[in-house]
């Protein structure tokens, strides 16, 4: 377990380093500047003299290499810089958004797992049935819709027509406000999970050891609970990890649509306002989340798969 963790962490370090560098370089060539970004709504005129001074103040006119080195140094000690826009530390900006973001991603993933995995299971066990066909067509449909469109439809249906749930916003951060954005975000991983689970269960059902189990005189339900489930899980866990890890990044659209105060909407806003330190911070967080989730998944493997535990 520890060995896996250590190995994983050693692998993660260069990835993070590369991301840090990449993010810096990408955004240092971004056209437009945060000052013109203040005019996002087109309703503000800015004083050019101020602009010049601020550029200098923020070191934007320094040579790229110099800025890069400074940036690396700061990032290494966990200082993500100061937001151009709010003039607060980026770490604080992100910290404010972290909890809602985590809530949304976890809720979406929970939804995806709670619906997708059982659906895939049932579809596989009833392979070829109407239920199977219907759930798989449904799953593929879920993958074929733009998220913002799906979100609008959910709002329209559940908030405007049925009046069951609020259409937007964070509210008290509770379930009522969380439900719709979580579903909008969770549908595509749900669909993917349903499909992977189905394929995984079919794979396992065709495995030799399942035939062995049947030859022992085991009933189908026991075969499934004793031998199929865990083995299928091993195959599904990777998908869960990849989906889960990238969810925070995918949340951009949903957060924007539902006014959910997550890192994704901060990121988009910051991109449009050219608040480069904030953008860099957000991306680092999203990458970090991805790597953390996948490290956890690796550890989960160790728990459920003895071949890795003793390998």
């Amino acid at each position: 377990m520890l060995a896996v963790l250590v190995r994983r962490l050693l692998n993660v370090v260069p990835t993070i380093a590369a991301v840090v560098a990449l993010v810096f370089l990408l955004f240092s060539v971004l056209p437009g500047s945060f000052i013109s970004g203040m005019n996002e709504d087109g309703r503000t005129t800015i004083d050019p003299a101020v602009m010049e001074r601020m550029r200098k103040e923020m070191g934007l006119d320094d040579p790229l290499a110099e800025r890069f080195v400074k940036y690396l140094g700061r990032t290494a000690i966990g200082d993500l810089g100061t937001s151009f826009r709010t003039r607060e530390p980026v770490t604080k900006l992100i910290a404010d958004r972290l909890w809602p973001s985590l809530k949304l991603t976890f809720a979406a993933m929970l939804f995806a797992i709670a619906i997708g995995v059982p659906l895939g299971f049932v579809a596989a066990l009833k392979q070829g049935s109407v239920l199977d066909t219907a759930s798989m067509v449904g799953a593929i449909s879920g993958l074929s819709l733009p998220k913002f469109w799906l979100g609008l439809m959910l709002m329209y249906l559940f908030a405007l027509q049925l009046k069951w749930l609020p259409s937007f916003g964070y509210g008290d951060g509770g379930l009522r406000h969380l439900t719709l954005p979580a579903i909008a975000l969770g549908v595509s991983p749900m669909a993917l999970l349903a499909r992977t689970t189905r394929a995984a269960v079919l794979d396992v059902l065709n495995a030799d050891f399942v035939r062995t189990a049947r030859s022992k005189g085991m009933g189908e339900s026991r075969v499934v609970t004793w031998h199929v489930m865990r083995n299928a899980l091993v195959l599904v866990v990777t998908t869960i990890g990849l989906q889960f890890g990238s969810l925070m990044g995918q949340a951009v659209v949903v957060e924007k649509l539902f006014s959910w105060p997550g890192v994704g909407s901060l990121l988009v806003d910051s991109v449009f306002q050219r608040d480069i330190p904030a953008v860099q911070g957000c991306i680092l967080l999203i990458v970090f989340f991805f790597l953390a989730i996948n490290t956890l998944i690796d550890l989960a493997y160790v728990l459920i798969d003895p071949r890795i535990r003793y390998g």
Partner: protein, 506 residues
Amino acid sequence: TPRRGGTIRMTAPYGASMGSLDPHVTPRAQDDILGKALHRTLFNWDSANKKLVLELATSVTASADGLVHTFKLRDDAYFHNGRKMTADDIIFSYTRIMDGSKGYPAARYIRVIKGAVDVEKNQAKEISGLRKIDDTTLEITITDRVDPAYYFFAGSTAILPREEVEKGNFAANPVGLGPFRFKEHIPGSRVVATRWDKFYKPGKPYADTFVLQIMAEAAARDLAFRSKEIDTSILGPAQYVAYRADPELSKGVMEVAEMFTRAMVLNPSFKPFSDKRVRQAINHAIDTDLIIKRLVKDKAYRATSWLPLSSPAYDKALKPYAFDPDKAKKLLAEAGYPDGFEFELTTSQNESWGLPIVEAMIPYLARVGIKVKPKLVEVTVLTEIAMKGEHQAYIGSNLTGPDSLATLRCFYSKTPRTACNYSSFNNPAFDKLLDEAAQSGDMAKRNDLLRQANLLVQDEAPVWFFNYNKAVMAYQPWIHGLQANPTEITHQYVEDIWIDERSPAK
């Protein structure tokens, strides 16, 4: 009679987050929606009478040369921390804004005060033009003969209490003089403020709570408004039509001619646009009225020239360019472009003055032989391009009020491109008119001169005059006391707003 209590639920429609809750830091219109609730400025816009009025002072007297203004300050204004406002707070706030190392956006207004620039350049610690007579009397010396009201009413010149600012982290705990005191901010989602009982207007504010929901997505706002989760919403053209057509919703639609002029700015350094006839031809070639009627759904007023409707120097008799493709063709032929030409038009995605308008212009210009290559950029980049003059033409929205002189200064030859002379306008006759207007102390005379200047701009056609914005706000039947503010419709004086029992938010 206004009911006390309840919650005002307004929306911030222009971006997915607030810039900063420190009013000095942010120049954004959206942030000022909140600013109106939390903070106060020396002057304020009175929407009912369409003029600027004193807010934190009870009277002002000007010296004979019009440069020294003595303000008698309110003595009943309390900061949310309970302390009474004094002249020191104004001096502190204006001095803070002039901190050159921070580049606060309102510096451009405060610079009008004598000695402010020295502070900005770090040559002085104090602004010499600010003098405290006593706690409630303040003397401000300015550098030009201008109406100080235009300079001290912007939200970014709000008066802040020194002790709170110096605690640091002011943006997280803003303290001001406004009718509501800050309660919580969930970045990216909403800001909540509660009634400030020691607010200086007796009996106000009415509501207990003020909530500002951040909702940049028009579609989401529409759905939320219809499901009664918000009290006000800004409408785009499509929804404007729908709301007006709806028997229920149409009762809650407020319109105002905002002081924004939408126009396609033509860059004279692009050869064809250096010829006045070409610029006029463009104005003739496009059926602007039809675009406004059908595409913008009448959610705008036809622009005749640069000055907007609510501008003091607006000329009601002025006729816009007529839609006349034949004349346009003739003008083009005269200018040496009988077969037209091609140009690149930089635009943003904005639904009222961006891409959709461009798409509607394309066929019209095509009919007179002019080919348009649209170039879509973000607003951020648009501003940048306009300032650098890298465009052949761009279409945008320009803040044009309420000071007509300041507005027309955008065509003054000495105004740099970066400070809004985006069309590099250079016309001696115009400069002369403007100089005279600036000298003149007589308001009527000044307005007359400005009217002539405005006419000249129309004839020169440095831009395609499109429209003046008609801002439309939808509101729920239970919200009362909204004002039609032509500087920015979302800027409401929340102390005057009250909510009746029908509100689902109570």
